[in-house]
Structures are given as C-alpha cells and as structure tokens.
C-alpha cells in the first residue's frame, strides 16, 4: 500500500484519523496485555501458583523439583 493510498484512506479526514487512532489503541492495549501476560507466564512456568497447585494435586511426592539453587 503506497503512502498516497494510506493518506487517502486514513489521514485525509481528521474524523477517520482520530477514529483509527482510538480504535487501534483499544485493540492494541488489549492484545498487548494478553501477549505480555502470556510471555510472562511462560517465562515463569512452574513457579506460579496455578502450576504449583497442579503439582500439589498430582501428589507432591516427586522429589525432582529444582529447588537447589542457593
């Protein structure tokens, strides 16, 4: 998409421009939060309460937990 098309479709009318900015802000803030949370929970997998709870429910007698990091 060339810049002139972009200009004609989005930037020419201020109402369309402002509306596009706000609508994409709405979509962005939700999807950005989802994406960051997803990465954060993958990065910390096994340490979060929801993972710990599952381990405890499975019967926590497995001793191969990596807690020896002093």
């Amino acid at each position: 998409m060339s810049f002139s098309t972009l200009y004609r479709v989005l930037f020419k009318r201020n109402s369309v421009f402002v509306g596009t900015v706000l609508a994409s802000a709405f979509v962005f803030q939700a999807s950005f939060d989802s994406a960051v949370t997803k990465w954060y929970e993958t990065h910390n997998k096994g340490k979060l309460w929801k993972d710990v709870k599952l381990q405890l429910q499975e019967g926590g007698d497995d001793e191969d937990e990596d807690e020896d990091d002093e």
């Binding site: 949370t37 979060l48 309460w49 709870k53 381990q55 926590g60 807690e67």
Partner: protein, 290 residues
C-alpha cells in the same frame, strides 16, 4: 603537567621514595583493616555485620516471579518454627489465597486461631474462630509479654523484615544459616546472646533455630537447613512485597511501550531533521568586472 611528573619520576631517589610510600600505606591500611575486624567496637567492620553474599534467588531477574512452591513451604516453616516468637501483624489470612494456598486451606488455617468477638448480653468477652478477613495472630499479646518471654529481647515483627534490613533476602538467608558451631576465639558475648557474624555487632538474642529435618514438607522436598531458610526467606520476601509479581509484569509492559516510543521519537527526529542537516549552502560570488 604530565611531562613534569615524568621528569620528577625519573629521579632515582624520588622513585624509591614513591614506591616506599605506596608500600607503607598499603601495609598499614591492611593492618588497620585487620585490626578493625578483630573487635566489635563502635564504627568497626564487626559492628556493621558481615555483608551477605548475593544469592541467585528464583525471583532475582527483572521479569521473574516468586517461586510460589517456596512461599507455601516457607509459610509452613514460619508457622512451625518462627511463629513461636515472631508475629506477622500486617498479613491478613485472605492475602494467602491464590498465592500459596487455596481458599479452603486458608479458612481451615485461620479457624485454628481464636479472636476476640463481640461481648455477649451480660458483657462478658467472647471468642470466635478466625475468618479470612482476620490478620495472622502473633505469639504474644503485647511487647512487654514478648520481652519477658525472651530475656528482654523483642523478636521483631516479620511482615516487612525483608524490606527493613540491608541486604534484604540475602541477609535473612545468611543470618538464618550463618550461626557457627562456636563463636570465634576472643569474642565476648553478653549473657543470653548468640554469635552470628551477619548480625551487626555479632551478638544476636535469637539462637540458631533451623536444623535439618525440622519440618516435614508435604511436597517431599528434603528439609535441609538451607532449604528451609530459603523457603522461609522467600515467604517473608512475599510478605514484604505482595505486589511483586504484578509489579514486574506491569514493569515489563511499561519498559516495552516506553522504549519503543523512545526509538520512534529518535526516528522521527532524524526524519524531520534530515533535510536540514543535509543542506548545503553555496555562495557564488558575482563575477567582478574587469
């Protein structure tokens, strides 16, 4: 200036003098530091306590959460060991839910304690079992009771202890595991106190409390001294910073947004200034008539 220094240093006597001075000051500084470490007088190294090493906690990184399994085990250590002397006044039962225990587990734990209830119709005080909204009760009713039970020493409240001590979690862990078998020769301790190099002054009223297999973990983790110290320190760190996990998540979001806006602003600046920076002014003087 540098050439002057070089000229002075070329003089053989001056060079010897400088080397001798450096040697003397190095040796005397080492001797002074060593002498300083032998006593625990005011303003000495021993008075400030040994600096704890930096441990690699699972929550050290800027994007790393607490190890919630450790928080859960740490609560068990607090309950079975620390809670005999130390209170945890600022932690409400409800805050443990979704962090280290389920709703029902916390209900059962809180119901094991008695709290003051409304008086009955004759005005007699009544007791009721604890609820989720209650705060975790301490071992003593007031400071005087705590002091009289501990030979005058007051066990500090542990709610904010990790934030309240230099070195934070590293210090707490070092203190708990740092009790030697015997105090070093020449150390004189006041009656009723124990030697711990990490404690400022070296004489701490709390004795060593964590020994191997003191508690039995439900998840089968071997309860070594250092394991228990690590778990209870993680728990106390959570008590001090219950917002920790969410704070790091929001920090990650803020860093991503702010740094991309910064890069964008750099690009916009370069874009806008490109025409100005690349302009070339040429002056063509008018041809002079002969």
């Amino acid at each position: 200036m540098f050439s002057q220094v070089r000229r002075v240093a070329t003089n053989a006597t001056t060079r010897k003098f400088l080397a001798g001075g450096a040697l003397i000051s190095g040796v005397s500084a080492s001797a002074a530091l060593y002498a300083d470490s032998l006593t625990a007088q005011a303003m000495t190294a021993a008075e400030h306590g040994l600096h704890p090493p930096a441990f690699s906690w699972p929550h050290n990184g800027p994007f790393d959460t607490f190890d919630h399994a450790a928080i859960r085990r740490g609560y068990q250590v607090y309950r079975e060991v620390c809670a005999a002397c130390h209170s945890l006044d600022r932690i409400a039962w409800r805050t443990l839910i979704g962090v280290s225990h389920t709703n029902q587990e916390v209900r059962d734990m809180s119901a094991e304690f008695e709290y003051d209830d409304e008086p009955d119709e004759q005005g007699n005080p009544k007791k009721r079992p604890g609820k989720l909204a209650d705060y975790i009760p301490g071992p003593y009713p007031n400071e005087q009771a705590a002091r009289s039970a501990n030979q005058g020493a007051l066990p500090p409240d542990l709610s904010l202890i990790v934030k309240a001590r230099h070195g934070g979690a590293d210090y707490i862990f070092s203190l708990l595991t740092g009790y030697p078998e015997e105090p070093p020769a020449g150390v004189v301790l006041p009656p009723g106190s124990n030697y711990n190099p990490y404690f400022p002054g070296g004489a701490i009223a709390m004795g060593r409390v964590l020994f191997d297999d003191l508690v039995e973990y439900e998840d089968g983790t071997p309860a070594t001294t250092s394991q228990m110290a690590k778990d209870v320190t993680t728990f106390l760190n959570w008590c001090s910073e219950p917002e920790h996990d969410e704070r790091k998540r929001l920090g990650l979001k803020a860093i991503l947004v702010v740094s991309s806006l910064y890069l964008l602003s750099v690009w916009v600046k370069k874009f806008k200034w490109a025409a100005i920076k690349n302009r070339k002014f040429v002056f063509n003087p008018p041809k002079t008539k002969k």
